[in-house]
């Protein structure tokens, strides 16, 4: 009879108090590990210096700029249309541009992908000499001495490389050096995919 009567409080306040206390003390420790895990995962995220581009799937901004080696020629966004192409932002003051230069040269020569250059915040005379010295993988170069086109493109450093479809719509942006790995793992598959689309 006495056993069938439910006890009023499920946890009696006498004996398990110490174990309860111990459990409560474990909570901060558990929270601490949760926090550590979250922070550790944060380190594995993408480099916070890499800004996602707002311009993906948007048409390349309008511009009217001088060509680097033919200053009498004016380039506009129309010149970028027609083929799946790369637009590479470079400058002579940018050490990583020199590092990616051989790969860009290879891509232009062997992969048949047109690369258009934006000479960004640079001096044209220096830029021309730089191309003479290291070779010119670019079909043409837009002279963006004031960085205005750069700003319209959301560029915040060099090198940056944009991938355009044949209609001149920005499909992808790579910030930093185009290495052979970047080419084979990212750019090449994207370009093939874009080329297969009509």
């Amino acid at each position: 009879m006495s056993e069938s009567v439910p006890t009023p409080t499920p946890t009696s306040r006498e004996a398990p108090q110490t174990s309860n206390l111990r459990r409560i003390l474990l909570i901060p420790l558990a929270l601490f590990f949760v926090l550590i895990t979250i922070l550790a995962l944060g380190f594995r995220l993408e480099d916070p210096h890499l800004l996602p581009s707002v311009l993906i799937d948007r048409p390349f901004p309008e511009f009217s700029l001088m060509e680097l080696e033919e200053p009498e020629r004016t380039l506009t966004v129309q010149d970028l249309k027609g083929e799946v192409a790369l637009v590479n932002v470079w400058a002579t003051w940018c050490p990583n541009c020199l590092i990616e230069h051989p790969e860009l040269t290879r891509i232009a020569k062997e992969e048949g992908v047109p690369i258009y250059g934006i000479n960004y915040n640079d001096e044209s005379e220096k830029a021309r000499r730089w191309l003479e010295r290291h070779g010119n993988p670019y079909r043409f170069n837009m002279v963006d001495n004031e960085g205005k086109l750069g700003i319209d493109l959301g560029v915040y450093g060099a090198p940056e490389t944009f991938l355009l479809d044949r209609h001149g719509v920005i499909q992808f942006k790579h910030v930093g050096t185009v290495t052979p790995e970047v080419w084979s793992s990212t750019l090449k598959p994207l370009i093939e995919q874009l080329r297969s689309k009509s």
Partner: protein
């Protein structure tokens, strides 16, 4: 006294350093708006510096653009839109309220509410324990009574 004057002079010369570019403005109102904007906008190349405090090339270019847009007669909101369209959430120190930033804006408030709720319940449970002990005593008394009747 000379030491004090020296300190005062030091603070004056230090505040002069803050002005980086020599942009001219037709009036003080525009100048104030310019300074407010470059304080609110974040340098895209730096992780935690505003346009006003950064010496990077892109910050110089963007300060020039802010100056140009203000002289063109654009409103503060239009200048912020210009930057937002090009650089996204990163450029605004005060991110816009949208799907991706709801947690950022209201997360702390939600956490505070949860904490208050927990605190409230814990406080209530403590008083409830005292009340329960009275009920307990009654029930115990009831339990004891029938057993007393049997004996």
């Amino acid at each position: 006294m000379r030491g004090f004057a020296f300190v005062v002079l030091l603070t004056i010369s230090l505040s002069g350093v803050a002005a980086i570019d020599a942009y001219s403005f037709p009036n003080d109102e525009l100048r104030d708006r310019y300074h407010t904007l470059i304080d609110e906008l974040r340098c895209p190349q730096c992780l935690n510096t505003n346009l006003a405090g950064s010496d990077s090339m892109i910050s110089k270019d963007l300060r020039r653009e802010v100056h140009r847009l203000l002289l063109e007669g654009q409103t503060d909101e239009e200048v912020l839109d210009f930057m937002y369209e090009r650089y996204g959430d990163f450029i605004l120190y005060e991110p816009r309220i949208k799907k991706g930033t709801i947690a950022l804006w209201f997360g702390p408030l939600a956490l505070l509410l949860v904490a208050l709720l927990i605190g409230f319940r814990v406080a209530r449970r403590k008083t409830a324990v005292v009340e329960l002990s009275e009920a307990e005593r009654e029930k115990i008394a009831q339990l004891i009574e029938p057993s007393n009747e049997k004996t």
